[in-house]
């Protein structure tokens, strides 16, 4: 293992440990029995098969948004649109699942494509605003998140709503559009194969194609990329569209795999978790599923804790924020890295 990889692993580990410690301190501020509550949080995902299942299920949408954010971060773009793209992708898949009448597998594929296209449009808008008009993709994508949330709720309320249902939910998805679930106890579904395929494709694109190389170059040093003749504006637009497509596909997979009707009233927050995942995975698609599993573990643990103890699940946001802050802090443990480098140099000097 190279010194750098070792150092990054160490730093991530220390950041997570620090975050969990702070999480525990906050828990003990509000809880009557903090040790017990925090125990539920840490052990929660392993306490029953159903919970272990929901822990793995939650890793699927998180992997998609983590990949989407990793793609755009690789090109140095701060597109925060994964949240809205995921949401509108789910709405588009719902529309295709409710209205179309197609044979089983084809119907599923069409629904997934619908989600992907909706998400891609969500990536195209901030991308084109940035590439053509130099408008901040950060602000544009944040605004677009709200637009997509409202637009999605409008479509569900006025065009897809099931009038016979008591709550605000869509008409049921046709069975031909479902992604099959493996067992009855968990909702683990065939979308996981789509997920692994996309993980591989994202990796292949970023590290094995020239466009992917150009994107990473653009992210590392925009001026250098431009002077070496890379069409940076095209690359930025492309990467934002691809990121949007992946996030939208994630929304569609989640909808077809887990739900039988659209029933969200608010955005489920996978997009912002995608940011944390991309940071933990250092934008490497192959590491994204691992980071997603970790985030899913935090989510499910927090839910179990909220169910059995007097601490609400939002506690986990404190842990998440500390992880982002410390993992991305360049100066965090920099002194240690410095000493490590010094030691190595001295060793080499004495060896020669």
């Amino acid at each position: 293992m190279s010194r750098n990889t070792w150092f990054e692993l160490l730093r991530t580990g220390v950041a997570i440990a620090a975050a969990l410690t702070i999480g525990f301190v906050v828990t003990s501020l509000v809880s009557e029995s903090p040790v017990e509550a925090f125990g539920y949080f840490l052990k929660g995902p392993f306490t029953s098969i159903r919970r272990f299942g929901s822990f793995l299920e939650a890793a699927v949408p998180l992997t998609f948004t983590g990949l989407a954010v990793s793609l755009v971060f690789s090109a140095g773009q701060f597109n925060m649109g994964a949240e809205g793209q995921f949401f509108i992708g789910a709405v588009a898949a719902t529309a295709a699942g409710v209205f179309l009448d197609l044979p089983p597998v084809i119907h599923t594929i069409v629904c997934l494509a619908a989600g992907m296209i909706a998400g891609a449009i969500g990536g195209f808008i901030p991308g084109v605003l940035k590439a053509r008009w130099n408008a901040s993709e950060l602000v544009a994508s944040l605004m677009l998140n709200y637009v997509f949330l409202k637009l999605g709720m409008y479509l569900i309320t006025y065009h897809l709503r099931d009038p016979s249902a008591g709550a605000l939910v869509s008409l049921p998805l046709k069975e031909s559009s479902w992604l099959p679930q493996f067992t009855r106890t968990t909702k683990l579904h065939a979308g996981i194969f789509v997920m692994f395929l996309v993980v591989f494709l994202c990796y292949y694109f970023l590290y094995r194609t020239s466009r992917g190389y150009e994107a990473r170059m653009t992210g590392q040093n925009l001026s250098f990329a431009r002077y070496s003749g890379i069409p940076v504006l095209k690359v930025i637009l492309l990467i934002q569209v691809l990121g949007g497509a992946v996030a939208g596909l994630g929304g569609a997979v989640e909808m077809l795999g887990i739900y039988r009707r659209f029933q969200w009233q608010a955005s489920p927050g996978y997009g912002f978790d995608g940011v944390i995942i991309a940071i933990l995975a250092r934008n490497n698609p192959l590491l994204v599923p691992l980071a997603a599993v970790f985030l899913a573990y935090l989510r499910v643990g927090a839910d179990v804790m909220a169910m059995y103890a007097d601490v609400s699940a939002e506690m986990v946001s404190i842990i998440q924020a500390v992880i982002i802050l410390l993992v991305t802090a360049e100066a965090f443990l920099a002194g240690y890295r410095h000493r490590l480098t010094l030691k190595e140099v001295k060793q080499r000097a004495s060896a020669s």
Binding site: V30, M80, W133, N134, M143, K150, L233, S312, S317, A329
Partner: protein, 307 residues
């Protein structure tokens, strides 16, 4: 005349524009101060949210609206200093640090609300206070103008005063000059003995204080309770207003007014028979369109900025 047009040209509508502009205006002034010192403060959203909650809690426990106001401002400053610590001392990417703080604010406020009020939605069980409304003695009797600015929340007046104060501070004081110098060229500023870190810390604290006032207005002026995610993107809209206003306090004021108009319009249209979801989209769509139209010039090999 069409009822919508009639309403839009009424004095009470103009008054409501000022009311909904207030929080965006405070935050966009905060964005200007941070930006001119060379820091993109996207934590404004989280700052407002935290201040809105802290104001409600402090006023409920002390029975004083002003203590609530101070608590809100103080928490805004505190978040600004935390952002400064991570960005300046630990060299965290400022956008990622801002995102982390916004995430923390969005859910952390719900966490605290639940711990204090045992409710995850609104704080209405807390006996929180509101900032007083003020009547301007002579102006209130002037026709039309009196109806518009004669009687408003004290924070609305404060936000208008803040425009002038921030302008004077940035362009007429020596510290303002130093602040802008740091933003313009930190190395040059450093070479003449200005501490870049210190100036940026102070800028972030001021930015936090302004965003904090905006937050307090939301929960203790605009309405009289805290509800989860009540900022609903106003901190981000403020960033757009800052860009639209060319990083100038007066420009930010005019841009905030524009967003205030769309906000007030969407509030009003909700009472008509337009689907609510559509109407609520208006401020965000307008921001997007304005961002595109205004950024204006097409790029060939143009400059890039990541903010």
């Amino acid at each position: 005349m069409h009822p919508l047009l009639k309403a839009v040209f009424s004095a009470s509508f103009a008054a409501s524009i000022l009311r909904v502009t207030t929080p965006i205006l405070f935050a966009s002034l905060g964005a200007v101060v941070a930006d001119l010192s060379g820091v993109v403060n996207i934590a404004l959203e989280g700052m407002m949210l935290i201040s809105a909650l802290m104001g409600v809690i402090a006023s409920a426990f002390t029975g004083s609206a002003w203590v609530g106001f101070l608590a809100g401002v103080a928490s805004g400053i505190l978040v600004g200093l935390v952002l400064g610590y991570f960005h300046l001392k630990l060299r965290t990417n400022v956008i990622l640090a801002g995102i982390a703080l916004n995430l923390l604010a969005a859910q952390g406020t719900v966490f605290v609300l639940y711990a204090v009020a045992h409710d995850k939605g609104v704080s209405s069980s807390l006996p929180s206070k509101v900032m007083p409304e003020v009547q301007l003695p002579i102006i209130k009797d002037i026709p039309v103008l009196g109806a518009i600015i004669g009687k408003q929340n004290i924070l609305t007046y404060l936000s208008l005063i803040a425009v002038v104060v921030v302008y004077l501070f940035l362009y007429k004081t020596s510290f303002g000059l130093r602040l802008r110098a740091v933003g313009e060229n930190p190395d040059a500023a450093d070479s003449v003995g200005i501490s870049v870190h210190k100036v940026r810390f102070i800028a972030l604290a001021i930015s936090g204080a302004l965003a904090g006032m905006g937050g307090v207005h939301l929960s203790m002026g605009y309405v009289s309770w805290f509800s989860r995610n009540m900022t609903s993107g106003r901190g981000y809209i403020a960033l757009a207003a800052k860009a639209l206003g060319r990083n100038h306090p007066i420009g930010a004021f005019l841009a905030s007014l524009l967003f205030g108009v769309t906000d007030a319009l969407s509030n009003y249209m909700q009472s008509l028979r337009v689907p609510g979801e559509f109407v609520q989209m208006i401020p965000y769509v307008v921001t997007l369109v304005v961002l595109a139209v205004y950024s204006g010039r097409q790029l060939k090999w143009g400059r890039f900025s990541n903010e």
